[in-house]
Amino acid sequence: MLQLSVISKLYRTSEIETGALRDVSLSVREGEFVAVMGPSGCGKSTLLNILGLLDSPSSGSYRLFGEEVSNLSEAALTQLRRQSVGFVFQSFNLIDDLSVADNVEVALIYRGVPVRERRKRVAEALEQVGMAHRARHRPGQLSGGQQQRVAIARALVARPKLILADEPTGNLDTGNGAAVMGMLLDAVAGGTAVVMVTHSEGHAAMAARTLRMLDGRLIGETRVAA
């Protein structure tokens, strides 16, 4: 489904050049669950941003659904992102000024889904993550675990082929963490590929394989027997 070959990402400041990613190559198949582990600052989030078309690599090739994306225009990237990618963040990243339902709906508005269908799908997604009763609340009125459920509902509602999760359980207690992992596994079971950055060996172990990173490089891969 996606192939990275020899991807590098450099950040330039006035004095130094930092390599966030160095010569990373990897591929993910449809419906695959991949975990990425490594210490802080090793390039995990940068990798995720590039995978999600939120950031572009300094060099190398990235093919998504067989299409080379490093040459695409901003508008084409936006189009591709709408069609195929959903995000879950460690800090939830819900829009404070919008209600829970509106937050989930945002993902559909930009995809041009008609109003009637939007309502239906938002209700379904919230039902799926057990947040239907909080639909009119503001994110600020929810606990961290509840906010992350909403964020996952937002990612799922657009039915993306790829979900990118950046430490989705990082800010959650054990119980909520487990619930969130359960939802991601459900998505995988439904045929969605998930790439998840995590610090938790336990959560990583739920993925089909775990990539290990250090200083912007891929240094190892662990496969879990299915």
Binding site: T46, N49, G52, L54, D55, S56, E74, A75, T78, Q79, R81, R82, F87, F89, S91, N93, L94, I95, D96, D97, V106, A107, Y110, R111, G140, R154, A158
Partner: protein, 808 residues
């Protein structure tokens, strides 16, 4: 502790130098505009406080009733003031003055043309003219004495110590006068047009003496004189006012009969603003005063909204800081104090800057507006107090909202980054909306006033004044012998006619002695004082005026018994239509000298073309024919070829005739436009202030847009991650920033429409409210606002979502 607050204020300001600078600038501009408005108001209210007795001074005036409307005319009977003092015991002083221009010469050298008053000997004392040298009581007793202004003393002698020195007035028949006093420079906009010389009226040939001698029976035509009464006791004033009607019948029956004259006492202090109440068409209408001053306050209003807006925006960002401070033990009171101290400190700095701006702008302002405003806080320390008060009140008001809101939140809530809640956002949007509304309204107002001015200056005078050059005689003072005016006019007209590119020459007599006209049958108002305007044979021809009925004067029709009426005069005389007036007889009585009624025949009626005040109604005018010798203004029509050469030739002819005297010549449209100067100034003042308001609002919006963009960086990142495109984000941001500019029209349009139609109705001749100005002003403001936020919108909308999401 205060030091600590100020340090925190400074650090906060220094952390965001661009915002702080823009905020400070906007605030300073607003305050500067407010201070200018204050100075204008101050000036309007104290224009005559130069005279030490101003509070007890009254102008005694005569008015007349025309067509049921009472109007004070400038000329009064010369004996009005002295007669009042004789009739009513208890009057503390009565004095008169009359204006004129004098040439000051030394040997054969012309030194200066000086505006002067000729006044009764007690003038300095009764009015209370502050003197630098000399004595109020005795200075003007001697017939040849003169008081001069500081400025003139410095020009002529380089010192104020010039008492006893002699100066010579006028060229043809020099008169030597002795300086007996030096008075403080009078304000330019004071009551008596800032004379620089006050001549004793005791001279046998002084203007005042001559008329007094000639006019024992009070039947001579009114003359240009200001009659002052000093009345300290309210009882005496009341007694006089009650007795004025009887007084008129006792002494001025002639005027009461001939022109329905009435008499009033006009308090000097309220003359300027309330003159209209007394029928004085020359006084400043209250409406002008209000309009010009209101705009200053409006600019401050915009700046205030700006300031509150930015302060709350900044405060929203400082929610975390407030939370941390509370967490480490700051009490609510301390937080409030801190935020208030910051805004008061900023407001003080802004006030100092504003004062500097006013100082810088004042000379330019005075030149442009012919005003005489001063900003003298050294001699008027109360100004400093007012400024300090302004800064304090302003700082407290502006700081109150952020201070109380921020300090009220629970620390834990405040610690959640950037959350002041929806309420703060709504407030800010409302403030921005109000700013836009004021800006739009002011632009509409400036546009309407400008167009009304254009209309008044160019359209309603109804004449073709292009290429008509007007020359006035050099001497306009009749109080001293040696007048060349009569010789001058005829000879100047001949010389001008001989210039190659001059096609025609004519002239008119402005301010002639009044003639009363009526229909022989007595139909019409009869006793109305209809002004006769003596004009040359080619007057209508040169100005391109066509008759409504009958024919006008021309080369072949110069019969001295023929008259031409304007439309208003034909109505006033009772004619049913212009055609009905043709060939009819009208009786005119010359008031100066021969009182025998004389029959004139109406040969034509012209449209009304405007020669009088804008705020009043069109006066009835009767045009009479006059020979060049009595022109007070010579009108020279040019062919249009070599205009500069022609003007130079006219100047040369003038110099050949009278030598090197001040040349008073200009194209007629210049003279006509001078009548509309007040209005032009209003248009320019309001226009200038409204541009300032838009600029201040734009400054605020620029800062605000950045705050909004910054506050929403994360949200934008999320939306992008969810699939929003750059144009979608740009549209979202623009909509949020610009909808107040559109909603503001709901407030601005109705108010501007109502206010300005009301204003326009105050003019006898006015344009229709130009409705297209409403959307035009809105579009302009929207455009400025759009350009202002464009930069931020593009920057934020184009940012890589990854960068935006990293923002916490």
């Amino acid at each position: 502790m205060p030091g600590f607050y100020l340090k925190a204020a400074w650090r906060n300001a220094a952390r965001t130098p661009l915002h702080s600078t823009l905020n400070l600038l906007g605030l300073s501009l607003g305050l500067a505009a407010f201070i200018m408005a204050m100075l204008l108001t101050w000036d309007e209210l104290h224009y005559n406080s130069f005279f030490t007795n101003h509070a007890d001074l009254y102008l005694a005036r005569m008015g007349s009733e025309n067509f049921g409307e009472r109007a004070v005319t400038t000329p009064e009977p010369m004996s009005l003031a002295p007669q009042l003092a004789l009739d009513f015991p208890g009057v503390d002083g009565a004095t008169r003055s009359t204006g004129g221009l004098f040439d000051v010469i030394r040997g054969d050298t012309f030194l200066a043309e000086v505006p002067a008053l000729t006044a009764d000997a007690n003038f300095l004392e009764v009015v209370g003219v502050p003197l630098k040298r000399g004595d109020q009581h005795s200075a003007l007793l001697a017939p040849d004495s003169v008081a001069i202004s500081e400025a003139l003393a410095m020009t002529l002698f380089g010192t104020l110590d010039c008492l006893g020195k002699t100066i010579t007035l006028n060229e043809q028949n020099p008169v030597a006068v002795k300086i007996t006093a030096v008075f403080t420079n009078m304000p330019r906009d004071g009551l008596s047009r800032a004379p620089r010389m006050i001549l004793s009226g005791n001279g046998e040939n002084s203007a005042i003496r001559r008329i007094d001698r000639l006019n024992p029976a009070n039947t001579l035509p009114p003359n240009y004189v200001d009659s002052y009464l000093l009345i300290r006791s309210p009882d005496v004033r009341a007694r006089i006012e009650a007795g004025l009607d009887d007084f008129g019948h006792r002494h001025f029956q002639y005027f009461v009969d001939s022109m329905k004259a009435y008499f009033i006492l006009m308090p000097l202090d309220s003359w300027r603003l309330q003159g209209k109440k007394y029928g004085d068409q020359d006084s400043h209408p209250l409406i002008r005063f209000l309009a010009v001053n209101a705009v200053g306050f409006l600019v401050l209003a915009v700046a205030t909204l700006n300031y509150v807006n930015l302060a709350t925006a900044m405060a929203a960002r400082r929610g975390v800081e407030a939370g941390v401070r509370k967490a480490i033990g700051a009490s609510r009171r301390q937080l409030i104090l801190q935020f208030l101290a910051e805004s008061v400190a900023l407001s003080f700095v802004a006030t100092v800057l504003a004062a500097a701006l006013v100082e810088l702008a004042l000379p330019m302002f005075n030149t442009l507006w012919y005003s005489d405003l001063t900003f003298d806080y050294v001699h008027q320390p109360i100004l400093l107090l007012l400024l300090a008060g302004l800064a304090l009140v302003f700082g407290l008001l502006a700081g109150a909202y952020p201070a109380f809101v921020l300090s009220s939140g629970k620390p834990a809530e405040a610690l959640r980054a950037g959350r002041l809640g929806q309420g703060g956002g709504r407030l800010r949007q409302t403030l921005v909306l109000l700013q836009y509304a004021v800006s739009i309204g002011m632009i509409i107002a400036a546009g309407v006033i400008e167009r009304q001015y254009d209309y008044a200056a160019n359209d309603i005078d109804g004449i073709d004044d292009r290429l008509v050059y007007s020359v006035q005689p050099p001497l306009r003072d009749n109080s001293l012998p040696g007048i060349v005016a009569s010789d001058f006019s005829a000879r100047m007209a001949d010389l001008a006619a001989a210039i190659p590119e001059v096609t025609e020459v004519t002239g008119l007599t402005r301010d002639p002695d009044g003639r009363t006209y009526r229909q022989p049958s007595g139909v019409g108002t009869g006793n109305a004082l209809i002004r006769g305007v003596p004009v040359g044979a080619l007057f209508f021809d040169i100005l391109g005026v066509r008759p409504l009925a009958g024919r006008l004067f021309d080369r072949d029709h110069t019969d001295a018994d023929s008259i031409v009426l304007n439309l208003t005069a034909s109505r006033a005389l009772g004619f049913a239509s212009p055609e009905a007036a043709i060939g009819q007889d009208v009786v005119g009585t010359l008031e100066n000298g021969d009182k025998t009624p004389h029959r004139f025949t109406v040969i034509g009626v012209t449209p009304d073309f405007l020669v009088e005040t804008l705020y009043g109604v069109m006066p009835p005018l009767v045009y009479e024919i006059t020979p060049p010798a009595s022109y007070s203004e010579i009108l020279i029509k040019m062919s249009g070829r070599d205009v500069p050469g022609t003007v130079a030739a006219i100047r040369k002819a003038f110099t050949d005739l009278v030598g090197h005297r001040d040349f008073h010549g200009a194209f007629l449209d210049y003279y006509l436009n001078r009548r509309y100067e007040d209005m032009l100034h209003d248009a320019e003042t309001i226009g200038g202030f409204s541009l300032l308001a838009v600029f201040v609002a734009a400054l605020g919006l620029f800062s605000l847009a950045e705050f909004v963009a910054e506050r929403r960086t994360k949200e934008i990142g999320i939306r992008k991650a969810m699939g929003a495109s750059t144009p979608q984000i740009a549209a979202l941001l623009s909509r949020d920033l610009l909808w107040p500019a559109i909603a503001a029209n709901l407030i601005a349009w109705p108010l501007a429409y109502l206010g300005l139609t009301w204003w326009l109705r105050g003019f006898a001749y006015h344009i229709d409210m130009p409705l297209w100005l409403l959307p035009a002003a809105s579009l302009l403001v929207l455009l400025v606002a759009g350009l202002t936020v464009l930069l931020h919108v593009i920057r934020v909308a184009r940012a890589k979502p990854a960068t935006a999401l990293r923002y916490e």
